[in-house]
């Protein structure tokens, strides 16, 4: 709420500068968005009087004005406003003036005629289109006739007033009014605010109870009251009232509507004014709309209502969307003479839903949603009637028409000093706490320990002990609360096994040169369904915000490919990424997906850059596989890891993809992204892997054991064999291991050759076999014997030619 300091000073004598007050409110109550004056950034704007207005000889719309700005000579100013006329008091931007939007006014010529300043519209001096009075929409603003030529326009328009703009949390709806703000500021400074006074004069001859009947559903409107003011003249409000409104960010309309808004700003009680004579019956209903019922609201929109929308209706049809927006048919217009003023409290939830559905968030609906002070409901109505009668020269009819008036009992909350100090960690005394409740104007008694607090209706947010802790804490001041740390039994702070593996995983892949990516977990259904490791239904958002993010991912690779595409599009050719995160698998009939931890990597280009003496480490299948090898090795799994060629992954290269097994369980895959898929993503050759990290966490892990280092030297033998292309390395290694004998410790492939020097369909593989005996030095003859068995087996099984 935009709080005017001038207005606030009518409640309290503060003698504090607005910045300090803003800071104080922010530290004690609610956030303060800004403290400002409407005139900030503007200067040299003075009252002028148009002495003469002549048409510009070379223009059909410009006028040459001689303007008295309180100096010896009038200023000549060329003005294009259609409403400029002789004898007006106008806003003059003198040469050198700053107006809105950081514009500086200079002496100039307009179509050859000197113009020494500018006559201003309100919009040109910073008034929002939405708050400047409509009458001046098309032209310059006309100041009151008694404005003194040459004096600053800021005080006249209220632009020199300090505004403290508060940003209210949902619980502090009470501060959506000047009264509530004054109570709060009073509590902060330990002063009692002076609430507005008025004297109601029911000088009309009729009784409201004779003029109106009601049928009110009390669940919709626990309070529903009306007063009638008759014989009014619709006209502009006096400037003091207009200033109050526009300083608060509201647009002056006419004396009646302005009073409803002014009272709303004062009491936080939204009011609505109906043209009594436009009601088709004098029986007012508060009811739910009929499904499909139509209502044209004040903004001219024809609304098709739902049966959950609350309406005010006469016997025939809806005349207002309750608490949200009035109806056009009963609008106050220039000929209105009799006003029915509504002061009601509506069901906040219904108001919120209606305002949301129709996107009609108004000052009124917002206040109903956040709560209205029942204690001030009648006062607001009486005050409004008084002001309307005064400003419209009408009469207030006798009494109030009451449709409903459900009493609200003030909350009584008890709290002990011990509890307060226990929860806040303070050592407050009973006197200190009592003083705080006194400053809040909460009637409270205490016996030195227990406080019985009566909470006025204006603070409907307070109903439990904890709410009072907050009141005490904030008014005592958070700065005054000590800083300590929780004490008590020591608790172990340690990562779980799963958390440690996840952390280690990240470190491992970073060590291998991959950067951690965090991609969007919500993607398109098409991408969510790529690179999947099992069957799953997609988990889709009911109301996505964009077509790019509709579905929970079921793989990590597609996100990494999006990342690579983003990089490649920005000329980053070498990209190495990994991501650890969840995928979301859903069984056909399940509502909730299963969330499974995965880890995936994607590399394109080179892992390292080419330098003056080292070749770039360009990624290929074996490069990415090496990363997976390293990763799985360091997982320390009990069961062996192996790879099997697969063509089962539609988005992967059919000849360059392997499923990864731990024991006989598939835990992931590695390979090259299918070139067509890569092309869809607009990325070059890219190698990827994805692992079910949860499966790796759940798999059996070896216990670490020390293995003594052999005292006896290893013996190695190299062997090169020529075999058919179809024989795989895994086949050969498996056979060597099987037939290698007790002392075979390791088999390393050190060369693969396929090419012109070999017979067609053949390849050459070369291995180093390492033999080790922990008990004694190996005898040459024993090694040879074991090695010969291997060669024989290779010849027999694979028809290998030993080279």
């Amino acid at each position: 709420m935009k709080v005017s300091m001038d207005w606030l000073n009518e409640y309290l004598t503060l003698d504090v500068d607005p910045q300090t007050l803003g800071e104080k409110i922010e530290r004690t109550a609610v956030e303060v968005d800004q403290v400002y004056k409407m005139s900030d950034g503007m200067s040299k704007l003075v009252v002028g009087e148009t002495l003469s207005v002549e048409p510009h000889p070379d223009s059909d719309h410009l006028h040459i004005c001689q303007v008295d700005v309180g100096e010896d000579e009038p200023l000549q100013i060329v003005c294009g406003a259609p409403n400029v006329a002789t004898g007006q008091k106008v806003i003059v931007a003198l040469p050198g003036a700053w107006i809105a939007g950081h514009h500086k006014i200079k002496k100039s010529k307009m179509r050859g005629v000197a113009s020494n300043g500018m006559l201003c519209a309100l919009q040109e001096i910073g008034f929002d289109e939405k708050i400047a009075p409509k009458a001046y929409d098309e032209g310059i603003y006309i100041l009151p006739a008694d404005s003194e030529n040459g004096s600053s326009v800021f005080p006249i328009l209220g632009m020199d007033d300090d505004i403290v703009e508060t940003d209210l949390t949902p619980n502090r709806g009470d501060m959506n009014s000047m009264n509530g703000t004054a109570w709060e500021v009073g509590a902060i400074y330990g002063k009692t605010p002076k609430m507005p006074t008025f004297s109601l004069n029911e000088d009309g001859s009729r009784k409201v109870s004779d003029l109106l009947q009601f049928s009110v559903d009390e669940t919709l409107a626990p309070t529903y009251k009306m007063r009638i003011v008759s014989g009014v003249t619709i006209q502009d409000s006096p400037l003091w009232l207009q200033k109050r409104l526009w300083e608060a960010g509201m647009r002056p309309i006419n004396n009646i509507v302005d009073v409803t808004n002014y009272i709303m700003l004062t009491y936080g009680q939204p009011l609505h004014a109906f043209d009594y004579d436009k009601l088709s019956s004098h029986h007012i209903h508060v009811r739910l709309a009929d499904e499909g019922e139509h209502l044209t609201t004040l903004d001219g929109e024809d609304r098709k209502l739902r049966d959950s929308d609350m309406v005010i209706a006469d016997d025939k049809h809806a005349i207002a969307l309750a608490g949200t927006m009035g109806g056009l048919d009963t609008e106050i217009d220039d000929n209105t003479t009799t006003i029915a003023i509504e002061s009601a409290i509506f069901d906040p939830i219904k108001i919120r839903k209606t305002a949301r559905f129709f996107n009609l968030h108004s000052e009124a609906s917002m206040r109903f949603e956040r709560g209205v002070n029942k204690d001030d409901n009648q006062k607001a109505l009486d005050h409004a009637a008084t002001l309307m009668a005064e400003l419209g020269q009408g009469q207030t009819e006798q009494g109030t028409g009451v449709g409903s008036d459900t009493p609200v009992e003030p909350a009584k909350v008890s709290v002990t000093l011990t509890r307060i100090n226990h929860v806040l960690g303070t050592q407050l005394t009973a006197d200190q706490v009592q003083t705080i409740f006194d400053h809040l104007n909460f009637p409270t008694d205490n016996d030195g320990e227990t406080f019985n607090v009566t909470v006025p209706a204006r603070r409907w947010d307070i109903h439990i002990e904890a709410d009072l802790f907050e009141e005490v804490a904030r008014l005592y001041g958070y700065d005054n609360i000590p800083s300590t740390l929780p004490y008590g039994t020591m608790t172990p702070g340690a990562l779980t096994f799963k958390q440690r593996i996840i952390r280690d995983s990240r470190r491992l892949l970073e060590g291998a040169g991959l950067n951690q990516a965090i991609s969007y977990a919500l993607t398109t259904t098409a991408k969510a369904e790529q690179f999947m490791m099992r069957d799953s239904e997609p988990t889709e958002l009911a109301f996505p915000m964009s077509t790019d993010h509709t579905t929970a991912r079921m793989n990590l690779i597609s996100g990494l490919l999006d990342d690579i595409a983003y990089n490649v599009a920005r000329k980053q050719k070498n990209v190495a990424l990994y991501e650890q995160g969840r995928v979301f698998y859903r069984e056909g009939d399940a509502i909730r997906p299963l969330e499974v931890e995965h880890i995936a990597g994607a590399v394109t280009g080179t892992l390292t850059t080419k330098t003056w003496h080292a070749e770039a480490d360009t990624i290929d299948f074996y490069g990415i596989k090496g990363i997976v090898d390293l990763f799985l090795h360091d997982m320390g799994l009990s069961e062996p890891v192996h790879y099997e060629a697969t063509q089962a992954h539609a988005q992967m290269h059919p000849g360059r993809t392997a499923d990864i097994y731990v024991g006989d369980q598939v835990v992931g895959f590695v390979g090259q992204v299918h070139p067509e898929v890569a092309s869809d993503y607009k990325i070059p050759d890219t190698y990827v892997f994805e692992l079910n990290l949860q499966a790796l966490i759940d798999a059996p892990h070896d216990q670490q054991q020390y293995e003594p280092i052999s005292k006896f030297p290893d013996v190695t033998r190299d062997i090169a064999i020529l075999v058919d292309q179809s024989v795989t390395n895994a086949d050969v290694v498996a056979l060597i291991n099987k037939r290698g004998g007790a002392h075979l410790a390791d088999v390393q492939l050190f060369d693969v050759y396929e090419g012109v020097h070999l017979p067609a369909g053949k390849k050459s593989l070369a291995y180093t076999l390492t033999y080790r005996d922990r008990q004694s030095t190996l005898v040459e003859a024993d090694v040879t014997k074991a090695f010969d068995k291997v060669t024989a087996a290779l010849e027999k099984e694979f028809d290998a030619e030993i080279r």
């Binding site: 922010e26 000590p482 608790t491 964009s546």
Partner: protein, 348 residues
């Protein structure tokens, strides 16, 4: 010539030759020539038998002296030459040490991960557990158990990605409070936990909004946890993440799941509290929300609010990273431009 004179001459000439010798081979040659079995000194010593018995020990001693001196000279010259040879070799091996080293592939953790890890480490050190929970949550845990019933106005503050009317992408990590309290055995002592994770809001992505971001939830429940403990804990967070020179202040705020609720501000990085455009001239920047756990939240999780109580806080690593490193667009965190990712390796 008398034997002594001959020996003296051999000595002098030998020393001169050694001094002139310019290679290890040449020195070896001199050594063999002078000191070998057929060398002149050995030869000369054979002449000792012709010397009188009185002179013999003197000459013998002189001869040994000469041999020792020559041996030492040879050794010294050898060392000199070896040293020179090594120096020459080293000189020939000199590199331009300013040429770049061979690159080693090394990746970086994501900047948000760094912040989360740092927070985890700090809280682990204070005896907290790290817990996680589902990203696809039910309305019950995400809202109801956080004291946000269906028609609560604060639900407006959190625009939500619903999957079904009851299932949604979690909008905060707070449901893990409820889950942790449900799971905790309070007879075994206090509950102290943090819970980092991804959260989702129905927002349009721009420089300051992201439909996906991160939160770290914190919760301590015991019989005597105070607002002062919350304040002290938040000061630890600020000091750990940003440094001792940053102050923390608490302001009243509103969250349905805490009462009292506070917002914590820290000294503005940009101006160190003097006031600037970044902090809107306040000298402070809002970094997290916190409060004392609302009794309704305790009750719904089956915790007796008359015995137990505590504090909770929720902070945003994205926001922290933006503030700490001056990242001006939140989308940077999720687009994974390598030029962005590789920047974050420094200690401070």
């Amino acid at each position: 010539m008398a034997l002594r004179e001959r020996l003296q001459e051999l000595h002098d000439r030998g020393l001169a030759d050694i001094k002139k010798g310019d290679s290890l081979d040449r020195i070896n040659e001199i050594r063999v020539q002078l000191l070998g079995k057929k060398g002149p000194i050995t030869q000369a010593l054979r002449g000792l038998r012709d010397v009188s018995a009185e002179e013999r020990p003197k000459i013998g001693s002189f001869a040994n002296q000469i041999r020792d001196e020559l041996t030492a000279a040879i050794e010294e010259r050898n060392q000199e030459l070896k040293k020179a040879a090594i120096n020459a070799k080293l000189a020939s091996e000199t590199l331009d040490v300013t040429l770049p080293g061979t690159p080693v592939a090394q990746g970086q953790p994501h900047v948000i991960q760094r912040i989360i890890d740092q927070l985890e480490d700090m809280f682990l050190g204070m005896g907290y557990q790290v817990v996680d929970g589902p990203e696809v949550e039910d309305d019950h845990h995400n809202f109801e158990m956080m004291n946000l019933p269906k028609d609560h106005p604060a639900r407006d503050m959190q625009d939500t990605f619903y999957i079904t009317p009851e299932i949604l992408m979690r909008t905060h990590t707070s449901p893990n409070q409820a889950r942790a309290m449900e799971a905790h055995d309070f007879s075994k002592g206090s509950l102290k936990m943090i819970s980092p994770g991804r959260v989702y809001r129905r927002d349009t992505d721009d420089a300051t909004h992201s439909h996906q971001f991160h939160q770290v939830e914190g919760l301590v429940i015991d019989k005597h946890v105070t607002m002062a403990d919350l304040k002290g804990t938040l000061e630890m967070v600020a000091a750990n993440l940003f440094g001792d020179e940053f102050d923390v202040r608490l302001r009243p705020s509103y969250f349905p799941f805490t009462e009292p609720s506070v917002e914590a501000d820290i000294t503005c990085f940009n101006c160190m509290g003097k006031g600037c455009a970044v902090c809107k001239n306040t000298g402070w920047i809002e970094v997290l929300g916190a409060g004392m756990v609302h009794p309704n939240v305790l009750k719904m999780a089956g915790v007796d609010s008359s015995v137990y109580g505590g504090f909770a806080f929720g902070l945003g690593p994205d926001r922290f990273a933006m503030l700490k490193y001056g990242v001006d667009d939140i989308r940077n965190f999720y687009l994974n431009d390598t030029r962005f990712l590789t920047q974050f390796y420094k200690r401070g």
